[in-house]
């Protein structure tokens, strides 16, 4: 008797019902698009070629610089949190290639909907990293203008922004900026999210809406293996990119620590979206080398040997190996970037402490475009209350005006 046989109602043995419907996923393992090996060796892929124009070396050097500066933003912000200057920081350590590769594939007319960890993409959209610190310091909830660099506000509720991305893309369709054939005009949206968010209803609904309306969206999922303490196996029994087919659009898994592959794949997906061919899911397979945030302690739930394994795939080290081995860079290239990183660090350290404190009275002004009489009255009342104290600060206040 086969071990796959179970007793049926009439006492006979039949096949296990678990087998009746066939396999529960498409194949044994995913293919990973890779153009640069962990050792820094350039390889080709049959479907995705690197298209960096005439100045390929310069572009690759630019990627290196972007990744080093992005990592510096991250390490500097982490240090600022340790020094009590930030309440919390969401680290991106290890995800620089995924963010720079995808971020540099964007054109100015594209729009980005980030999570709260897209510091590298923000950098690509010319958002001053100081503006990012404001959110984590608690002086504001998003200090940049989303319409300036086409970079949306950080979204803390996991996955909510993917629907905003699809809606924005539906707006682009109605504005006639999709599929015109004019590269300066055609636009698309990138929705960033993580492996944890892939379980959210909003992400799945965004897939359905995007497919239904053929919206120009690239769903860029950074699968960093961990949703705080929960491993990817808790979110998905199949490789995430394979989910796309179930919604009716293509998915691809790319080496998320390979900036060249991330660039090439995102560029292809964006071109596809801009030309009016609809959504794509890009799963950037990477690893969160840091903690979820500065309040997290990964030693409670994952093995240090995992981290050591992924350190060998470090996105910056592999590009440095490539640049060095192929003689692409001048002698002072790396030192020059280190100098830049130092200056960026100083900008963040000095600038963070100088971020202006919000006024308690400022909260009343932006709730509505047309302020309600109720709120106006509350503001007047609160101002009078504050005024009733010497110096405008209630005794014992830790947050009022002048507390710093």
């Amino acid at each position: 008797m086969s071990e796959n046989a179970v007793p049926t109602a009439n006492g006979e043995f039949g096949p296990r019902l678990g087998e009746v419907f066939g396999p529960s996923h498409a194949d044994g393992g995913p293919e990973l698009v890779q153009l640069l090996t962990p050792e820094g060796e350039r390889v080709e892929h049959q479907d995705f070629t690197l298209d960096l124009g005439d100045e390929e070396d310069e572009a690759i050097k630019g990627f290196y610089r972007d990744m080093v500066l992005t990592r510096r933003i991250d390490t500097e912000a982490t240090a600022l949190q340790r020094h009590g200057e930030l309440g919390i920081w969401a680290q991106l350590l290890g995800q620089e290639a995924a963010q720079i590769g995808s971020g540099r594939a964007l054109r100015p007319q594209d729009f980005v909907f980030p999570t709260y960890r897209e510091h590298g993409v923000a950098y690509c959209r010319d958002v001053d990293p100081l503006r990012l610190l404001g959110l984590f310091r608690g002086v504001d909830q998003g200090g940049w203008d989303p319409n300036e660099g086409n970079f949306g506000l950080y979204t803390i509720v996991i996955g909510a922004q993917t629907l905003h991305a699809v809606g924005y893309a539906m707006g682009m369709q109605r504005d006639g900026v999709v599929g015109t054939g004019d590269p300066e005009r055609d636009a698309a949206v990138v929705a960033y999210f993580g492996d944890g968010a892939s379980s959210q209803g909003d992400v799945n609904e965004s897939f359905i809406f995007a497919a239904s309306y053929n919206a120009p969206v690239v769903f860029f999922c950074q699968n960093n293996q961990w949703a705080i303490s929960e491993p990817i196996e808790r979110q998905s029994r199949i490789p995430l990119y394979q989910r796309a087919l179930g919604f009716g659009f293509p998915g691809v898994r790319v080496d998320g620590n390979d900036v060249l592959a991330c660039y090439a794949v995102t560029q292809a997906a964006l071109r596809r979206a801009r030309e009016g061919s609809g959504p794509t899911l890009v799963e950037a397979y990477t690893y969160r080398m840091g903690a979820h945030t500065t309040t997290d302690d990964p030693t409670r739930y994952r093995l240090s040997s995992d981290l050591e394994h992924w350190k060998l795939k470090d996105p910056i080290a592999r590009l440095k190996a490539y640049l060095t081995r192929n003689g692409v860079v001048e002698d002072d290239f790396f030192a020059g970037i280190e100098d830049e990183a130092e200056k960026l660090g100083e900008h963040l350290r000095e600038g963070c402490k100088a971020l202006p404190e919000p006024s308690p009275l400022s909260i009343f002004d932006q709730v509505y475009v047309d302020q309600t009489p109720e709120l106006a009255a509350q503001k007047v009342g609160f101002a009078a209350y504050l005024e009733s104290f010497e110096g405008g600060v209630p005794t014992g206040s830790t947050t009022g005006i002048g507390a710093h």
């Binding site: 909907f113 504001d140 909830q141 998003g142 200090g143 203008d145 989303p146 319409n147 949306g152 506000l153 509720v157 909510a160 993917t162 629907l163 905003h164 991305a165 699809v166 809606g167 924005y168 893309a169 539906m170 707006g171 682009m172 369709q173 109605r174 504005d175 209803g201 909003d202 609904e205 965004s206 359905i208 809406f209 239904s212 909260i363 002004d365 932006q366 709730v367 509505y368 475009v369 047309d370 309600t372 009489p373 109720e374 709120l375």
Partner: protein, 325 residues
């Protein structure tokens, strides 16, 4: 001048809004070919096309979430939630995104969207089709909440809501959709959206209502008149912000107030209205402000919904209790 139902008034108002501004979109389940399950959007997709009157997948969070993105792109989406009890899958998008984005972005992003919700009971429906969730939205900073009670208000208020640059939850009393007709004169200037209105003058007691209860309260006032009591009825119309000026003036005149709604009494709109009247009109009051509403239970099976819903007698009972003080 035409005589119209609330359904026709809303339909005409939506049509006028679509004609006035090419950025206005309608989106929701069955709003296109079918014209909505209540036919409020009847004929609009035929005249304005599938890109402007959008049949969506059956996912309320998806409707509101994509509306946020469309609003960011400069559109003015009017989202139809098919029934009140189906709004909760969209609750996160409404409360955490729609309501907060203008604040979080320090005013850089506007959310000029309207969330239309047929609300209230009395149509003999199965569960989740008869609820009154207004307090949950009125309790959310960043949203504005209004409710029309009659065909003429439906026509004007939906257009005013669509013109608003702030997000508005627009509550439509579904049992009134096809009930009474009223004369619509499109040449008149409407009152401001965020204003309450005296709909029957009186001097002995102030009766406050909105949406489906306005009709009930007018009938109650008529019945009370037969007993020699002169009741002033105010249609609140706007629930967030509340327009309390006319209410305070009325209560200072009458000294008594009863507030009625279909929603549960506990922490309902009546609680806020009563608290504000007490704060502002304490010395004018001859009796505590009384509340009449649904009981603090889930909405019951439809065969007993008339027992659950506050009706003419329950309102008059509260009026009696007020006068007994």
């Amino acid at each position: 001048m035409t005589r119209i139902t609330l359904a026709k008034g809303l339909n005409a108002g939506l049509r006028a809004a679509l004609e006035a501004d090419p950025k206005v979109l309608i989106m929701g389940e069955d709003v296109g070919k079918l014209g909505g399950v209540f036919r409020i959007t009847d004929g609009l997709q035929k005249d304005f096309g599938e890109d402007r009157v959008i049949d969506t997948p059956l996912a309320e969070s998806g409707i509101l979430g994509t509306a946020v993105g469309l609003a960011m792109r400069g559109y003015r989406p009017v989202c139809e939630i098919q029934f009140d009890g189906f709004v909760y899958p969209a609750y996160d998008q409404i409360v955490s995104q729609v309501a907060k984005i203008h604040f979080r972005s320090q005013g850089r992003i506007r959310m000029p969207l309207v969330i239309r919700i047929p609300f209230g009971g009395g149509i003999g429906a199965v569960e989740h089709h008869s609820e009154s969730p207004e307090a949950q939205f009125a309790h959310t900073p960043g949203l504005k909440v209004v409710s029309c009670s009659n065909p003429v208000d439906g026509y004007w208020m939906i257009q005013q809501a669509i013109q608003s640059d702030d997000p508005i939850v627009f509550l439509e009393p579904k049992r009134q959709y096809h009930a009474d007709k009223a004369e619509l004169d499109e040449t008149l200037q409407p009152e401001p959206l965020f204003s309450s209105r005296i709909v029957r003058e009186g001097g002995d007691l102030t009766l406050l209502a909105y949406g489906p209860m306005v009709k009930t309260c007018l009938a109650s006032a008529e019945a009370a008149a037969g007993e020699g009591r002169s009741i002033e009825v105010i249609d609140l119309r706007t629930l967030s912000p509340l327009d309390m000026g006319p209410v305070f003036a009325s209560v200072r005149k009458t000294g008594r107030a009863v507030v009625a709604h279909e929603a549960h009494v506990n922490l309902g709109m009546g609680s806020e209205v009563a608290a504000r009247i007490t704060e502002e009109c304490f010395y004018a009051l001859e009796a505590p402000v009384l509340r009449v509403g649904g009981f603090d239970t889930p909405y019951p099976p439809s065969r007993i919904e008339e027992d659950y819903l506050p009706d003419l007698d329950r309102v008059l009972d509260a009026v009696d209790r007020s006068f007994a003080y």
